[in-house]
Symmetry: C2
Subunit: 116 residues, 2 copies
DNA sequence: CTGTTGTTCAACCATATGGTTGATAATAGC
DNA sequence: GCTATTATCAACCATATGGTTGAACAACAG
């Protein structure tokens, strides 16, 4: 059940990251806290549309919101990004392992040739 | 234009990763090359359905296919995973920076208290 | 040749997604 | 109080997604 939860989290995080508008928003948030309209500004899109993107990021746990008066300030919460990265890192390890295995295989072949 | 291409690639890769069925398939592929039906086996889903997932992974460049007779062998191509990880790693750096900044801020506050 | 296996394709369905507009609510400034 | 600003909500639209079934096709086994 914990696994399912983690899986659902990864679903949401990766889905949130699969849109370039949202990735750009995260890029801006990496510079610091930001209002929703400031986040929306760079895009030729209605504010309501941008607001939906912010909600997707929020639902994925990538963004947190602080309401001050009529302004909603958003900031990055990188913990979930770290989870996603950890998932990917597992495959990086596999990838390196395979490269290492290939390399030592080639080296062994090389030695054989020299000997023969 | 190169940026747009990279962006489209990330779109596809993150979208491919946003489904737990596809992540599980990648998990199996990490163990080694695998036929489509072997990939489909663990899921209570039609073969045609599973085949669609494989195509999504392939379109994202995460999986490569080798056809031998009637069997389609798939294998992981981790290069695109590495790209996605590189994107995430940028934010990890930001995250660490922020933590470091916070830590030194707290340390400074602490020093002040001691002095005062 | 026949039958079975591995796989894709096409058509279809329900639901999700990314976007719009117009209305609504809350707050700040005059 | 009136108006402009910040943001959400609700309804709607077109398209994408994840799944199904049934048919097709290629290849191996008898």
């Amino acid at each position: 059940m914990v696994e399912q939860q983690r899986s659902a989290t990864l679903d949401a995080v990766f889905h949130a990251l699969s849109d370039s508008t949202r990735r750009a928003m995260l890029g801006k948030l990496a510079e610091g806290e930001c209002s929703v309209s400031a986040l929306a500004a760079p895009f030729s899109m209605s504010l309501a549309g941008a607001s939906k993107h912010v909600k997707v990021l929020e639902a994925a746990g990538l963004v947190r919101r602080r309401v001050a008066g009529r302004i909603h300030y958003c900031r990055l919460d990188a913990a979930r990004l770290a989870e996603a990265e950890a998932w990917l890192r597992h495959y990086e390890r596999f990838w390196n392992t395979r490269l290492d295995a290939l390399e030592s295989l080639l080296r062994a072949e090389d030695e054989k040739k020299k000997e023969g």
